[in-house]
């Protein structure tokens, strides 16, 4: 006889299988962890490459000019009409007195951005007292200079294959030796609209366009989506028509968004005569794109409200609409908001439907209202990615960073709202 307690045959059977059961669990855990590791690696790689390509765009190269606002330049009444490009040129020639040939002079003026003249114009029209004085003014360098300073151009390739030739290199080095070239934070990138000169290009126009477009889309799709979800879920009779509508909404959620662009072109622009390329039409089209998502998310959120709450409200004599607005809707709101924000995040990234309604466009002026022509962030990225100038590469990545930042902000908002409304009790 052994001392160990006798184990029943059932316990033995259970113990025999235990190891296998635990192994299955371990295997599953390992698979889960590796899936997450793979996903994180991709994410880190994506972010890493975008950020490493784009972070340089947040700085821009400036050249310091010793501008003497000579009286002779400002003879006319209208200060803005003065020959500011000429002033920039004269300043550069005076900084490099050895440059005499016509060709060299042209090469020299290519070092500063065409924006420099407009900057001087702005300064003088704002403060006419500058006339007659000499000022040290930092102006934007040309994008090729910027690329060179940031190390994106190789100095060692043959001269004919460089966009900056040997003479220009020598001038840039001379400026740098005198501390007249520096990199500054690129505020312009956040305050100006599109430009074909990479050093002047900014995302504010596209950002405004995105904000207006999303505002319209949100202001329409949220109330319509919530109302439709409530009607379908709580009020619609249970019949073939309702089923048909439900199937169609589910199908619409899967329709490629360019179809909505075509629809928008046909209805909003051609039939209603709304202006092309505007956030108004863009917002309407994106409303169509996001509505199915919002309705489906809204219905799911309504479905998840426990029936006991509905019974409690009805049992006390609340009418159906009171039951919905007082009890069901507040409980479904976090889910609906999450669905809406996910829909909006999708809308933020859409370009295809906007092609049809003319929002893939070069627009310099910052839109001031929903009826001004505008473009949106993803379109700006698309347009820059397609531009020949090398300096747009980093701008493209920088714009992607901004778009991602917006997406994160929106998802953060989704989480915040969800917690806020859920935590209430």
């Amino acid at each position: 006889m052994q001392n160990t307690p006798q184990q029943s045959p059932i316990t033995l059977r259970i113990n025999a299988g235990l190891k296998k059961r635990y192994n299955t669990e371990k295997r599953f855990k390992r698979m889960g962890i590796s899936a997450i590791v793979i996903a994180m690696t991709f994410l880190v790689f994506l972010f890493g490459s975008i950020i490493s390509n784009g972070y340089t765009a947040f700085q821009q190269t400036y050249i310091q000019l010793d501008v003497s606002f000579d009286q002779t330049f400002f003879t006319g009444e209208n200060l803005a009409a003065a020959n500011f490009p000429g002033l920039v040129k004269k300043t550069l020639y005076s900084m490099f007195p050895d440059v005499t040939s016509r060709n060299d002079k042209k090469l020299l003026t290519q070092l500063v951005s065409s924006n420099a003249a407009f900057r001087l114009m702005g300064m003088v029209t704002k403060d006419p007292k500058l006339i007659g004085t000499t000022q040290k003014i930092w102006v934007l360098a040309d994008d090729d200079v910027d690329m060179l300073i940031k190390g994106h151009y190789d100095r060692n390739v043959a001269e004919s294959n460089r966009r900056i030739n040997d003479k220009q290199l020598a001038w840039i080095d001379a400026l740098a030796a005198n501390g007249k070239i520096t990199k500054k934070f690129n505020t312009q990138f956040f305050t100006s609209g599109d430009s074909r000169e990479p050093e002047q290009a900014g995302i504010w126009g596209a950002t405004r366009g995105s904000i207006y477009t999303l505002f319209i889309a949100l202001a329409l799709s949220f109330p319509i989506g919530v109302a439709a979800a409530i009607y379908l879920e709580e009020f619609a009779p249970n019949n073939g028509w309702t089923d048909l509508i439900e199937i169609n909404i589910n199908n619409l959620a899967a329709v490629p968004s360019i179809i909505f662009g075509l629809l928008g072109l046909a209805i909003f622009i051609n039939f209603w005569g709304m202006p092309r390329s505007t956030p108004l039409v863009g917002g309407l089209v994106l409303t169509l794109v996001t509505l199915p998502t919002i309705i489906i998310a809204g219905r799911a959120a309504l479905k998840s409200v426990p029936p006991s709450i509905r019974e409690a409200a009805l049992g006390i004599g609340a009418s159906k609409i009171q039951m919905v607005t007082h009890h069901v809707l507040p409980l479904a709101m976090p889910g609906m908001l999450t669905g809406t924000i996910i829909g909006m995040a999708r809308a933020l990234g859409e370009t295809a439907p906007l092609l049809m309604i003319g929002m893939i466009a070069f627009i310099v002026d910052i839109p001031g209202s929903v009826t001004d022509p505008a473009t949106v962030l993803p379109v700006q990225i698309f347009l820059w990615a397609d531009s020949p100038e090398r300096a747009f590469t980093e701008k493209t990545s920088a714009a992607i960073i901004m778009l991602l930042a917006f997406l994160m902000l929106m998802n953060g908002l989704a989480v915040y709202f969800r917690n806020k409304f859920e935590r209430k009790w």
């Binding site: 005569g273 003319g358 466009a361 310099v364 531009s387 020949p388």
Partner: protein
Amino acid sequence: MKMKALLLASALTATMISSAPAMAARDYISIVGSSTVYPFATVVAEQYGKSTSFKTPKIESTGSGGGFKLFCSGVGVEFPDITNASRAIKSSEVETCAKNGVKDIVEVKIGYDGIVIANAKQGEPLKLTRQEIYLALAKEVPDPKNPDKLIANPYINWSDINSSLPNTKIEVLGPPPTSGTRDAFVELVMDEGAKSFEFIKKMDKKEFARVAQTVREDGAYVEAGENDNLIVQKLQANPAALGIFGFSFLDQNSDVIQGSIVEEQAPTFENIADGKYSVSRPLFFYVKKAHVDVIPGIKEYLGEFSSEKAWGEEGYLADKGMIPMPEAERAQYAEAVKNLKTM
């Protein structure tokens, strides 16, 4: 409270939308059209916007065909004023225009765009003829043993076509059929290359188009998307590959890629401008005359575009990679612009 705010927002939006169609006038120029002309027209537009009191024109990149379709839809503020094109307007498009009341159209040629065949600097520089390019890329080519018969393209390496070419695999990254660059490439290179064979040249029009313009699908030609920057990047990663794209991308990336010599001529600015480099096409824009006095600033925009400082030999468009027209041609079109001479 929340409900009310929501209702208010929707009411606001509703009024905004219902009042929108009322605003009929347009105070900016609306331009559509070719993505090849887009990088040049936008420079002009930006310059014009900054140096005049007018708003900067809106330029949509719709492709030449899409541009004509919009342009020809009618006369009125909701239709574009100008369309850019990397080819001349077709007679069918002129008819559509006329049917929709767009009768007086001013055609303006602005310059040329070269199409280059390039590879990475690490690769060997190539010297090609249009016939060789045709043989390398067409789906069906004349049988080398029986030169009156077509067979499926047998060439694998460049040296199979011409022993003086490098012994590397034929691998060409180029634009998809939806692209204007592809149309121009087919017309300027493939058609010409095919014509160098007498029996293909004699074929009827349809058959010729099929033989000359069908690109092989066995992986030697890779459709790399509309984005030329992407092709440039892929070339750097794969020095054995060739890419087909617009001259301005070669111009901007001359430190990392090199253009192949075609028919003895290198794709340089000068050679394209002189017309020596054969693979180049004219660029145009078309103006709706009926809009000129309605939409403010069109005349000034045309003036800016046709000024020497824009499209001249030393102009800023040349800096961006557009090949200017010869002086006489510039003068001719500047005159046409000035008098709004219709087609």
